[in-house]
Subunit: 234 residues, 2 copies
């Protein structure tokens, strides 16, 4: 019987990766006179991975890695004014309004009647808190957990702290790597709701299609059905 | 009777502001051919305050504001190579080893026998977690709370969540604004341990010298005495 639901936030409750995608597009355009888009993407991702240990996830680290990559790729030929425009791009990402997915504002209060709801998100603490506040959804959640990494140890710690057995828990999210696989490994259930874009770092080779505690749905509109199927109260 | 102790981390358990101070020094040197140090400091602080809502606290936001200020102050005359050196400066801050204050490694296990210990720190989630892990102190704390802002509402939420009455709680830290005043206002106790540097944003006009639940000490070596005086178990 599922009693508690974890929700990822970015790209599960509201749009996020499309904002990064638009930023990438403008970044490629800025560097287009120096390098083709594919090379810009490759170099930026390499810088992001090299800096991940120091920066963690989020738009500030993305902005810093973008500036570093631009200077490196252009061998210093990029202008300070163009670097200033990368900073502005990052600030626009941070200031971007939260765009809820359709139906989320109605779904959550309905779910909150039957389940304990927990936001489990990763990234920049300050930015995540601001987005959660702006979303208007915070009151539907009994707990908000903002993590630097979503792995098995982190989920186990959260479930233990809140006295939720893994068998009573389902995680809903758009990342197999961060939302679904670690929870299935603990004995919980996972409802995978893919988003149109997936950041390269979050991609995994295969989907656990045949796992009995795994469901994949097209959108959150199908969540109640998936939960009933998994043994929820809904 | 005090039963639970909150500890600030940066500049309370280990050095931090000296790392920012060194970064400021190198930043001033980089811009010295354009502007005197006082003007550089003034402009950087203004940028940091303007960006605080978007960036929050921490070294990544500091780095981004430093780059923005450098471009602005030099009207674009700073070179991309010099901007790269500001990025490197920020990365050195993030990679800087944790330097514990003298006696902390011995004091905490002794305190942990008599008090429930909680780290209550603010700033960048990823960086704070890395520093706490590197410090080797995590095991002495029952809970680690990393916040985006340390105000009365945040302290009230933490105490409620952990079932600690304000009267049973003392907060130990180097910032009157973030560690002491909000806790005194809730009815808790505050032990103020000033650090040699205080970031301008954390400065407040006056010290609550005559408050019965307030103590100021020179170093953590005097903490046991201050707690006994405040009605601790020590």
């Amino acid at each position: 019987m599922i009693r508690a639901l974890g929700f990822d936030a970015d790209d599960t409750l509201w749009h996020n990766e499309n904002i990064f995608e638009q930023a990438h597009e403008r970044y490629r355009a800025l560097l287009a006179r120096f390098h083709p888009a594919a090379e810009v993407d490759r170099a930026l991702f390499a810088t992001e991975m090299r800096n991940l240990r120091l920066y963690g996830y989020g738009a500030k680290g993305f902005t810093l890695s973008s500036i570093e990559t631009a200077i490196e790729l252009t061998q210093g030929a990029i202008s300070p004014a163009e670097i200033r425009s990368i900073i502005a791009l990052g600030q626009e990402m941070l200031a971007h309004p939260v765009e809820l997915f359709p139906g989320v504002a109605e779904l959550l209060p309905a779910l909150a009647r039957d389940y304990r709801l927990i936001i489990i998100t990763k990234g920049d603490l300050h930015h995540q808190e601001r987005k959660i506040a702006q979303s208007g959804l915070a009151d539907h959640f009994s707990t908000i957990e903002i993590l630097s990494e979503k792995d098995g140890a982190a989920y186990a710690r959260i479930l233990r702290r809140h006295g939720v057995a893994p068998a009573e828990f389902a995680m809903v999210g758009n990342s197999l790597k961060s939302d679904i696989l670690p929870v299935l490994a603990l004995g919980g259930a996972g409802v995978y709701v893919p988003y149109q874009f997936t950041w390269q770092h979050e991609r995994v080779a295969e989907t656990p299609h045949v796992h009995p505690r795994f469901r994949q749905i097209e959108s959150l509109a199908a969540l109640l059905g998936a939960l009933a199927d998994l043994g929820g109260t809904g």
